[in-house]
Subunit: 323 residues, 3 copies
């Protein structure tokens, strides 16, 4: 900006500072009262190294002894997670007036409880790796799955976030699962309960709602929604079971929707692609949509080598194309 | 690489340098003539701190006084945005021969115009936070929405990019919205006009086209396309209204497509999941697809506890599963 | 953490170290035996600069002479890719007992072979830019496409990864394409063979399987699956052609699925939105789904200006909404 503009800039800044004075939700200038997303993402990265030691190399700590390396890593995560939990707990209405010591005490208890769950998380994750290998002919080996599969990445973060959710930590679990969502396009609420041997292939577009319960050996493909039937009640529905129960050994193929808090998909069932299910399905059932009726036409649909289409197609109402 | 390979490497480098000499689109070695994506993403991160002061902590500038902190932040963004705009303006055919002073003058005017819009952007964004809270029973509180909801993140970036789009800045608005797209799977063109209280839940797979007009209080769920009906004209359609108008208080549920530049969804209407709409809908209408016809079969579809399926299912043409 | 907790922390760490002693897939403490995802992503970023010189500015190397700049960049990528390939090759069962020299020799050969393919990759990518410009009326110019289009980003990374895949490099190609998948929501297996002038618009949710073959001038929109029909055989299907062949000049509109290893979409055909195709389509054919049957109701579906819906809608079984 050149010099002549200085006053104009000062005016704009002044107006904005004025604008911040309104008491609005998007203000909130108590700077150090919010959990820090960057710190939480860093905690997650380190938690993945704890769950999969060796796969995710720790460059910061150059110990050749695994014990020392892990001890340092664990203490780092513990320290930072504890701090973030203490900040997040303030978001609970009952903690607004608690004193510092009480809050620190609560945060520590939760942090330690959470760390005791890591062997359990690892036990479940081991089964998820196996399920991906058994389920995907394109899997080269287990290492490829751990190093690159977005489904495994997401379910692992979900298992971590779910333990914090069960310990009633506000905000942090959702920040964790939304981080996974942004990396993979898979949106599983940290409240969802998910059994062993869970496999999501491709994954993009999968949505699993807060009160979903999923058994063991369940496979879910891209674009599947396990969601709520809207009763359009918004905040009035908080805490109500709004999402389905999926029993053991169920497979849900791509694009299917399974909806509603009273919907139960019975064990050993298979839901076909694009099916839209809003009531319970008995065990051992395979559900698919009836064959689509298709129109076929022989067209004069040509393109030049340059990629430019010749638009000699007659316009025809029954032909719907999306750009 | 070992020493013996040196000549081979020199040859490969030589061939590549030769290959760069062709006059092709993907070359373009005028190094400093392109907007810089990294700088634009940094500007966006800082703009989010300006829109939500306090939520996004500014670590670089350690001022305890909000005024100084914001002034420094605003001047930083202004300086860098101004520079990027000056570079981007060169992409307009009419500016190819403009002199440096003219361009600097134009860029400054646009930058200052844009900054005057920030209070307006903040006013809209405040309503988006409210809409997310009212619309989602899983929302713990407004802080959770601001800190973690991908829909809010995307609409905020879109509101910023849309103001630059209206000021006819090339490239930068699209770089901004594609950054949001990569973070959230929500693809809203910066040209789309969107009213207050806009809420997108889950979001992954939402597409909103360039010439879309959306009213107030509109809710859109995952996988919704608000798109064009292809008349397959490519660049010949530039500037034509190709995308729908969505009036106030409309809800569009997951997977629905609303298509075509003459399609108007009248106020207070609801479009059900997976509906495919290519013509206008009267106000106060609820549209849903007729119940799918489903096939049900009792199968012998079992899995062992290990997750390996026993493949004793008869092959059956009517069963379509996607891997 | 306060002092009193120290013993508790020591216990937790002790239990975790105990837990790592099990011989499980998710352990694998041979720290330096895995390819490094971070290094591979860095290689990809630099490869994009090699494919599009000038567009992706190289800040690290400040040379004003293009030759020196590119030489340094190429040698950097060569050195690091070579190292990662040497590590990855160990994952092939036949290389488990190879000596260091043999492995280094193999890795070097592959690296040099790969670099010889860069002009070919650039030739294909040039056509992809052209196809995006011709196909999208919202494209401002070719620079916008190169700087911001997720479809172009993904196909470019795929063309790079596919060359490494053809050279039988394990793990690295998939790490590359999964990185693109995480950035764009487009999941193309590095094994897929894709012709010139390939254009993906919007892109989120596109899945293209390992054994797919795609001709020249093909356009694919958001949410399209080019996938397998499950015969549920898991690892037993490795290497079998499980995914379709798409011939030249085919367009596949949003949400369509084309499935099965014997399915061939003949040249110049068009597949309409949401079509579900599991058998071959003759050349010159346009396929679309029959018009959906829709229910229309005039509702009393109102919202207050605040965004809160008045829930006076009668509950109605035939109305399915997903939250």
């Amino acid at each position: 900006m050149r010099d002549g503009r200085e006053e104009e800039i000062r005016n704009i800044v002044g107006e904005l500072l004025e604008d911040y004075k309104d008491d609005r939700t998007i203000n909130q200038i108590e700077l150090f009262d919010q959990p820090d997303t960057e710190v939480i993402v860093d905690i997650l990265d380190k938690m993945l190294k704890i769950v999969f030691p060796g796969f995710f190399r720790e460059k910061t700590y150059r110990f050749y002894n695994l014990n020392s390396r892990l001890t340092v890593l664990l203490e780092d995560v513990m320290f930072n997670l504890n701090k973030q939990i203490a900040i997040a707990l303030r978001q609970l209405p009952e903690n607004q007036n608690a004193n510092e010591d009480e809050m620190a005490e609560k945060a520590e208890k939760i942090t330690l409880e959470f760390f005791k769950k890591i062997p359990l998380i690892r036990e479940y994750t081991e089964t998820d790796v196996q399920a991906a290998f058994d389920g995907d002919p394109a899997a080269f080996n287990r290492n490829e799955i751990i190093l690159s599969y977005p489904g495994l990445y997401t379910i692992t973060i979900n298992r971590i976030a779910h333990e914090l959710f069960k310990l009633s930590v506000p905000l942090i679990p959702r920040i964790m699962t939304e981080h996974a969502h942004s990396q993979t396009g898979i949106d599983i609420h940290p409240g969802a309960t998910i059994g062993k041997y869970f496999f999501m292939d491709h994954g993009t577009g999968i949505v699993v709602g807060e009160t979903t319960i999923i058994g063991d050996n369940v496979k879910v493909y891209q674009g599947v929604t396990i969601g709520a039937l809207s009763t359009r009640g918004g905040q009035k529905l908080k805490g109500v079971k709004r999402h389905p129960t999926i029993e053991d050994n169920v497979t849900i193929y791509s694009g299917a929707s399974v909806l509603g808090g009273e919907t139960v998909i019975g064990r050993n069932s298979v839901i076909g692609s694009n099916a839209f299910i809003t009531s319970s399905i008995a065990p051992e059932t395979r559900v698919s949509i009836k064959n689509q009726e298709l129109n076929y036409k022989t067209g004069k649909n040509k393109k030049e080598a340059s990629g430019i289409e010749i638009t000699d197609l007659e316009q025809d109402e029954s032909w719907f194309y999306i750009i």
